[in-house]
């Protein structure tokens, strides 16, 4: 597909490493050879057989390294693999027919989805429109949800016992409907799993493998230890829904790699920011793993560059993804994420998305004059300037009119753009009706989309209780660097950084991942109650949960060849004020509670985090607090890949100058603007805006009033001249 890029290295290793991110369109690959040389390659994703596209990219890299593919694989120590294909399987509804077994009296839980299900996963604008409220197509049709007469209460006691004969009848009902897998979610099973386990025993007894094949019986308490029957049901359902994807397609890829000489483990990137072997990966952990891999890569950049607060921005053709990384904080996790249209329970790195990309369509708006997105022209027909039939004005059309994109260098010249079509679309839909010039309309479109993206970043940061001005904006993806100065200015952020390997940034992020297991259990443990003057009473219960999780971590990692000394654990607590619903997650200062000092340390940590996040005005210590969830994070530390420094050669940035063209920056007249070849920049090159830096897969715009400099590690750092 693309040419392989090769960056000489100086960090030799015994084994090569390969990191891959399989997306819906491209398979991105970043490999580090034994001599430290970094290769990047892209190939088209081959949906019928993932190994084809993957091996094509690896083959390109092997050829660039002067070896054949099998030789490269045989000498490779680790393959880390992130994919968004689980997400695609969900969106396309290509999973198996499932049956859901739940507590009788609560079979409407999933179809109703906490009432708000119709809005989950939709852009905010769509959630304002009640007359068009429409739930997504369910993963389990209502006919295939059955109830069992049983009940466990909130203390885990059996209130109504479960009759095995009723299980047999209900399972038979589902089998008669042709289900190929069972999801079992009974109320309060996270506190007492006996009934769920009984269901599995009977299913396995009545319908052995020979009958049902390899289709699963997923018990909800095994995928989540947390309260919340809807989200736990959906977590288990998605796990079952993607079971075949993991079991078949990824196993086939692993087998193919083995056949080609790779002797190591296929390490799956998890959406928690960790990774694990295929056997230790539940399917739902692979969803959104690609973007998370990029976000995780940002953590290393943040640490290595001494940046403690980073917001990652990835602008593609249709969407703009935002993630936040703050060193030492757990606030960048979403413990109640929405996957596709479904609320689930798993700790996932928090990435929000809005419909703002190159293909986003501009339209007139009665209130704001012009609005951009979330509707997108996508890649087909695409922006008007693609000349593929699109007639609506898009962000890409505006950028072309402004000169920020060039008709002949877009996508490395592979996709010529038609300026006339872009102008016609903007004239017809925007400029004409508003009575303004086409360049003025294009400028407004660009401002609106920059501000829209800036507002999304602003919301993401302030909702977590941070000040946006303290953040560095990390920009990648095809469109990010093109708009980064604009949305960073909207945010009043201090700096924009474009990382090296930005076009395969998610794959690059996987290089720094660690093996990670997260264990969680919902509890109700009152830390103090002002009414009864009571402090935590069930200290032993708390410690038993932590100890139990540690034992599970030992067992899980032992299976992967790691002993107790390799494992590092940390305890996190979800704590809430009595009466509140939402929790505040804190990194516990102690792993076990052995006395009043430990208790006080936990309380002080909570109060400090609460005050920091919401302000001291909101802190009501008088109401008492309770632990809602105990979480243990167990990982196997490994050194992060050290960024490889290059020395400045003392040359002038003008060595990379490729020409000049007229660009518009908001004034009435165009400005002749320098255009640089981004790959030709070397460390120390400093460029003052306005300037355009072109690379085959992206364009970096240095706006007037900004300057940028390539540092010794390949990061292009842009700052506003007048910034504090």
């Amino acid at each position: 597909m693309n040419a392989v890029r090769r960056t000489p290295g100086n960090s030799p290793s015994n084994r090569a490493e390969i990191n891959v991110d399989i997306g819906g369109t491209f398979t991105d690959c970043l490999a580090t050879d034994r001599d430290g040389t970094v290769y990047t390659a892209k190939a088209l994703t081959t949906h019928h057989d993932l190994s084809v596209g993957f091996l094509r990219a690896v083959g390109d890299i092997a050829a660039a390294a002067g070896r054949d593919t099998d030789e490269l694989l045989a000498g490779t120590g680790a393959i880390r693999y992130a994919t968004t294909l689980g997400t695609n399987a969900l969106i396309e509804r290509t999973g198996p027919r499932l049956g859901l077994i739940t507590t009788r009296g609560h079979t409407a839980t999933v179809p109703i989805g906490r009432c708000r299900q119709w809005a989950d996963g939709l852009p905010a604008a769509a959630t304002r429109d009640l007359p068009r409220a429409t739930r997504p197509q369910p993963l389990v049709e209502p006919e295939r949800i059955v109830g069992l007469t049983e009940r466990i209460d909130s203390a885990g006691r059996v209130v109504i016992p479960l009759d095995p004969d009723e299980i047999r009848d209900r399972v038979l009902d589902l089998v008669d409907q042709g289900v190929r897998g069972f999801v079992v979610c009974l109320l309060n099973a996270h506190l007492n799993a006996a009934h769920e386990q009984l269901v599995r025993e009977i299913v396995e007894h009545e319908y052995p493998d020979s009958y049902l094949g390899r289709f699963p019986t997923i018990l909800s308490h095994e995928v989540s230890g947390r309260a919340g029957e809807y989200a736990r049901s959906m977590t288990a359902t998605i796990d079952a829904y993607l079971h075949r994807f993991t079991a078949d397609r990824l196993s086939a890829l692993r087998d193919e790699l083995r056949a080609r000489g790779y002797l190591g483990e296929l390490l799956m990137v998890h959406n928690s920011g960790g990774m694990g072997g295929l056997a230790g990966t539940s399917p739902i952990q692979t969803v959104h793993a690609g973007p998370v891999s990029g976000l995780y890569g940002s953590r290393h950049i943040a640490r290595a560059r001494g940046l403690d607060k980073i917001v990652t921005t990835d602008m593609g053709g249709t969407s703009f993804d935002v993630g936040i990384v703050v060193d030492g904080s757990v606030r960048f996790y979403d413990f109640h994420p929405v996957i596709d249209r479904w609320h689930v329970q798993l700790p996932m790195m928090d990435i929000s998305a809005i419909g703002a990309g190159g293909g986003s369509i501009a339209r007139l708006d009665p209130i704001s004059g012009i609005a951009v997105g979330p509707e997108s022209a996508g890649s087909t027909p695409g922006p008007a300037c693609y000349g593929q039939g699109g007639t609506e004005p898009t962000v890409t059309d505006a950028n072309l009119i402004l000169g920020h994109l060039a008709a002949d260098t877009y996508h490395g010249g592979r996709l010529p753009l038609d300026l006339r079509r872009a102008e016609r679309a903007v004239e017809r839909r925007i400029a004409g009706p508003l009575g303004i010039s086409v360049p003025e309309a294009a400028h407004r479109i660009r401002r609106i989309v920059d501000e829209t993206m800036g507002a999304e970043i602003f919301k993401g940061i302030t909702t977590k209780g941070y000040d946006p001005r303290e953040f560095t904006v990390l920009s990648f993806g095809g469109g990010g660097p093109l708009h980064a100065c604009g949305y960073a200015a909207a945010l009043d952020a201090r700096e924009v950084v474009v990382p090296p390997h930005s076009s395969v940034f998610s794959a690059a992020g996987a290089a720094g991942l660690e093996r990670l297991h997260i264990y969680e259990q919902s509890v109700w443990m009152v830390l103090f109650n002002p009414l009864t003057k009571q402090l935590l009473t069930d200290v032993d219960g708390f410690n038993a949960i932590v100890d139990g999780f540690r034992e599970r971590a030992l067992a899980d990692f032992a299976g992967q060849g790691h002993g107790p000394d390799d494992i590092v654990t940390a305890v996190e607590l979800d704590i809430r004020a009595l009466g509140q619903l939402d929790v505040v997650t804190v990194a516990s200062p102690v792993e076990r509670i052995t006395g009043r000092d430990d208790l006080v340390a936990v309380l002080k940590t909570y109060f400090a985090e609460y005050g920091d996040r919401f302000g001291d005005l909101a802190l009501t210590r008088e109401v008492g607090v309770a632990i809602d969830t105990v979480r243990v994070r167990a990982r196997i530390p490994r050194p992060a890949p050290a960024p490889r420094a290059r020395t400045a050669d003392g040359s002038d940035a003008r060595t990379a100058l490729r020409g000049r063209r007229d660009c518009r920056w908001g004034g009435a007249e165009p400005v002749t603007t320098d255009v640089y070849a981004y790959p030709a920049l070397t460390p120390g090159h400093r460029i003052a805006g306005p300037a355009i830096l072109e690379a085959p897969d992206t364009t970096i715009v240095v706006e007037p009033g900004w300057h940028g400099e390539l540092d010794t590690h390949g990061f292009f750092r842009m700052r506003r001249e007048d910034h504090r």
Partner: protein, 710 residues
Amino acid sequence: MSTPETTTAGDDTEAFLDDLLENRPVMYGPDAELTGEFRLRPRTDREDEALAAVTDPTDLAVGLGRVEAVLESSMQMLQQISASSAAKWGDLIVGIYTREGDFAVATSGGVNMFSATTSPVPKFVNRYWADEPTVGLAEGDVFYHNDANYGGTHNPDHTLLLPLYWAGEHIAWIGAVVHEGENGASLDQGGLAVRATTKYAEGVRIPPMKIGEGYTLRRDVVNMFQNQVRDPLLWLTDIRAKLAAARAVERRMHEFMAERSPELLIATLRSVLENTEAEVRRRISAWPDGTYRGVHFGDTTLLEERLFKLNVELDKRGDTLTVRTAGSAPAIDRALNTQAHFTRAMVANLFMNFLYGDLPRTAGFIAALDYDLEPGSILTADTEHPSSLSLTTMFCLNAALHQAVTKAMFSAPGPAKPMAPWYAMIPTLQYGGLTQHMQVTANVSTEMNAAGGGARCDADGEHAAGPVFAPVSDWGEMETRESELPLLGLWREIPADNHGFGRFRGGASVEWAYMLYGSQMFGFGITSMGGRFPVTAGMFGGYGGSCTPLTRIRPDGGIEAVRAWLAGGAKGITYDGPSMVVDRPLPGTYEVGNPVQPADPVAEGDIWIQRMGGGGGYGDPLERDPRDAMTDLRRGLISPEVARQVYRLVWDPQRMELDGAATEAARTAERADRIARGRRYDDFVAGWRADTPPEHLGFLGAWEWPEGQG
């Protein structure tokens, strides 16, 4: 002896008397001029100046985007830190008002109608307290309010206000509004005073007042509030939470003004108000001119069964739409009365949530319409009437409003979608007492958020999709509720026939059943309508929703008997209220009645069963695609009786498969029967019309249309 000085009636005398008679009110009561104001205030000089300072119109879009982002962020924060169960699940709003007090931008989520009804609150502060020497207005002041006679919806909705200053200039107001679950009513816990016959039984009534300075709450004032209510922790937490949210908005607005300018903020607020009003008018002008009517009824005064009438007439001419309510029930000494500003807000709510959801939530919506609300009615209560349950009246009004509006706009082009009324009522559990964790609580449960959606002109309604007043709301999860409260949720299921039938059926809702479990000091209550007369109306031949009475079971032998029954497998349990009443699998007392019960103590083991209603149907059920009706039957959404009698469906009961040909034949036969049953219009009127209500029927409101409209 001295001679008295001769005095003449000069200026001093008049000034003295004016001061004596006019300027020394006994108290600063509700100001009818302020609460009656629904037009936008005229532009101020400062607003003109600010708008003139904006040379690039894109700046206004930028300003609006930033303000909305700030408000959304703060509302999310408020939801996270509020202790009100209603707020946690969506019954709140954060917004910004102009300096004059018009509500300019609100969060897109939450309770939109707060943006249409709380403007009188900052206006009151501006008029009465800003220059009052003992109160005053300065940066850092904190104001609070809940008395609906001064603005707002009903007393459980509390508004906290901060004035927004920049460089010593008062720029705007910031508001945080939350529905609080306990309001200190003398007899009824939970904020909704079922038994109130005067406003003095409805608990704490706070006129707009200053409760803090320098961003610091007066602890003695808050303590006074807490002293009036059953859940002082809730009040303490939430007053602080609202202040924190408002303060967060203030901080971000300060940053915005420093970065851009105060003029841009002022201009943004003004332009969004004016643009919203203009756009609503423009869209209305596309509707055909005419008069459109709707009528609906409530079925209880809270203390006795009565039908009370809610009459709506829309008069549309050009871009002017006048809402009239003549003929509606008179005001009464029950908590159902509604202040006129809430009635107007309910109209705005319909426009915001069901017609023009793409526009910002602002006071521009109510400003775009005209109102002719009959004085002395239940929709125009005076300041002495009790009104804490005004929302139930408003929900009944909603059915009449939505019918009339759909008639008016169904043929007009535009973004609005014609549809049948959404279910608009809140038969939800109110509770209070001591939990199993020895925590005192009083609040409302969130099953109210499971309202069924109205059928659309081109699609069925959505099941349990949210209340009419807050588009994206949540009812939480049973496990979470049980872990916090002494409840056992026996079921939350969609029962058969719990929606309006039609060519497109309404969305269904659930029946919930809760048992008190784990506490001996706890009360249940419910305040709703629809036990006798359905809350939801149908549209163009579609059926209305079903009635939703309350069923209460008090088991013989108390909780021990219930435990034994459950442990024995809950023999005979049907997970359905009506059949439980018929079968009585658990020995005890079964009561079925209106869903109106004060929140009084119940015994552990008592079970309350209640349905939320479904949305109205749209169009003739005989036009429903038989395959869709068959799917409804298969999924238990309709009973076999409804399938046969309403949809004229014929199917194989063994295989549950549709017999298409037989169904078509049955429908053809029914159409012929309809023609046979038909009568001339005059004959129908003669047979249908009665000059008075039936004697057995308690009825409030005009029996006939006003003269000339019959």
